[in-house]
């Protein structure tokens, strides 16, 4: 059937996407280390920070996998893979340069939203299939915190789709040639970043894998599977950073420099924001956060869509 005729995709974009994911994950780890050293008051050591992620990954590859009593043998290893695949799927709809995307489909932001929601399912299954109590509690936390803010991202993304009159990310980027969406409706970006923190289990929203649960969903996992999980979390963060740069900061648009360079710079800036939030904002208390998510953040996202709608009126 006519899939190929509708989805003008670029096969060359697939290796680029993989490179972006792997490079982004490495960059997140390095930034995280550097920023941690700055915050802790010691002198940042660039050489060490550059080597550290490689060494830690090597260590995890050398470790054997452990097992619990009667885990779900299929779903347990599949969960991290699904998590990483969802991060990649979310990124696949984003063009890296004009007309250069794995699949800049007509329903771009809906695909991104679906990937985000399935993320919570992956995290839940990861916690559930370990057959261990603390991991299971972590899994439940992921679903419950997910419900409190997964609506946000859809409203915010609809907000950016309105001026573009399209659900395609490519069109959304093109529609920002005059003015970036972050200026048009400034509420969107911070709300989107909150969702990103939640989807990547990062910093203040790292509730399912938190320390008081002794690692939560990842607490029973070691070796290559843990490497996959940590990789997937960072990949999800990268996916949100690139999406934030494309949907709110004009993506690959910019003067003088080539498009991909602009996108890279904006994405790295977003990643830096994520990493900084991770070190400066403590883990939120689920009860308080959920109350705020429903009573403050959700109405703010309505306001955002209202502003976007009024602004997009011809």
């Amino acid at each position: 059937m006519p899939l190929a005729s509708v989805y003008a995709n670029d096969w060359l974009a697939i290796p680029v996407l993989l490179a972006v994911v792997v490079g982004g994950v490495y960059l997140v780890s390095v930034l995280d280390e550097l920023f941690g050293e700055v915050v802790s008051g010691s002198r940042p050591n660039l050489g060490r920070s550059l080597r550290l992620p490689v060494r830690q990954a090597a260590l995890l590859l050398c470790q054997s996998a452990t097992r619990t009593e009667h885990p779900d043998r299929i779903l347990w290893p599949v969960a991290p893979a699904a998590y990483a695949a969802l991060a990649a799927a979310g990124m696949a709809v984003i063009p890296f340069a004009e007309g250069f995307a794995v699949a800049d489909v007509r329903t771009g932001i809906v695909v991104f939203g679906a990937a985000e929601v399935l993320t919570f399912v992956a995290v839940y299954l990861h916690g559930w299939s370990a057959n261990a109590p603390l991991a299971l509690i972590g899994g439940y936390r992921s679903l419950v915190q997910g419900f409190s803010f997964m609506l946000l991202s859809m409203f915010v993304l609809i907000g950016v789709a309105l001026p573009a009159r399209s659900l395609s990310v490519g069109q959304i980027v093109e529609a920002q040639s005059g003015l970036w969406n972050v200026v048009r409706h400034p509420l969107g970006l911070p709300l989107f970043l909150v969702v990103g923190l939640g989807a990547a289990l990062w910093g203040p929203l790292r509730l399912p894998d938190s320390r008081e649960l002794a690692g939560g969903t990842v607490g029973e996992v070691s070796g290559p599977q843990r490497l996959a999980w940590e990789f997937a979390r960072r990949a999800m963060l990268v996916s949100y950073a690139v999406m934030a740069a494309s949907a709110f900061l004009g993506g690959y648009l910019g003067p003088w420099l080539p498009g991909p360079v602009w996108l890279l710079g904006k994405s790295v800036a977003m990643l830096a924001v994520f990493v900084a939030l991770g070190h400066l904002v403590g883990r939120v208390r689920p009860e308080r956060f959920m109350a705020q998510a429903w009573t403050v953040l959700l109405p703010l996202s309505f306001l955002d869509i209202l502003i976007a709608g009024v602004e997009a009126l011809p």
Partner: protein
């Protein structure tokens, strides 16, 4: 029959279609509530994928989106009410089993037979059409009434669901009514207070 249908699309269709039915079947064949729930999710995801193959991408992706949320809710409900999240105990909770099998098989045979027997019009989709834009204009244009009804219905559903599931109803605690009201008026007054 669409002349452009390629071998790959056919293969993908059969893979998704058989997987959808298979996972639907697994829902009722597993001891674990969580596995049942996510088997149903897998069935929906496969149907969504077929919709994307048919160029109803918006509906297909919306199905992904909606079902992921709904099944996550369902997983919580299943575990909360069914107590057998890990499938530790074997579970077979069925009634009128033989009748149900016959009814299911008959439904399948009847509907499938209908699909083959009836000569439906063969008017495939015009590929160049922007189906998503069409849907948008239809919803916000001539089918506006449908969209408005959907909105009102969903609002009513939300209110109804909250009213039904909340602990405190119009007549006091919802779990306090297990005893039928007494026929004696004085006793009834006493019960109410």
């Amino acid at each position: 029959m669409n002349p452009e249908t390629s071998l790959w699309t056919d293969l993908a269709f059969w893979a998704f279609g058989l997987a959808a039915v298979w996972y639907g079947w697994r829902v009722f064949r597993t001891d674990s509530m969580v596995r049942a729930t996510f088997a149903l999710l897998a069935s929906f995801l496969n149907v969504g994928a077929i919709m994307v193959l048919l160029l109803a991408e918006y509906l297909g992706t919306a199905l992904f989106f909606m079902m992921a949320v709904e099944m996550a809710v369902m997983a919580i409900f299943m575990v909360a009410f069914m107590m057998n999240p890990a499938g530790l105990n074997p579970m077979q909770m069925v009634h009128q089993h033989r009748f149900a099998i016959v009814a299911g098989a008959a439904t399948f045979a009847g509907l499938a037979g209908l699909g083959f027997a009836v000569d439906f019009p063969d008017r495939p989709l015009i590929i160049a059409a922007d189906t998503i834009q069409q849907l948008g204009f239809e919803l916000m244009g001539s089918s506006m009434l449908v969209m408005q009804s959907i909105g009102v219905t969903l609002l009513a559903t939300m209110i109804g669901a909250v009213v039904l599931s909340s602990k405190w109803g119009r007549y006091g605690d919802s779990d306090a009514g297990s005893v039928p009201p007494s026929l004696d008026p004085e006793q009834r007054e006493e019960d109410r207070s």
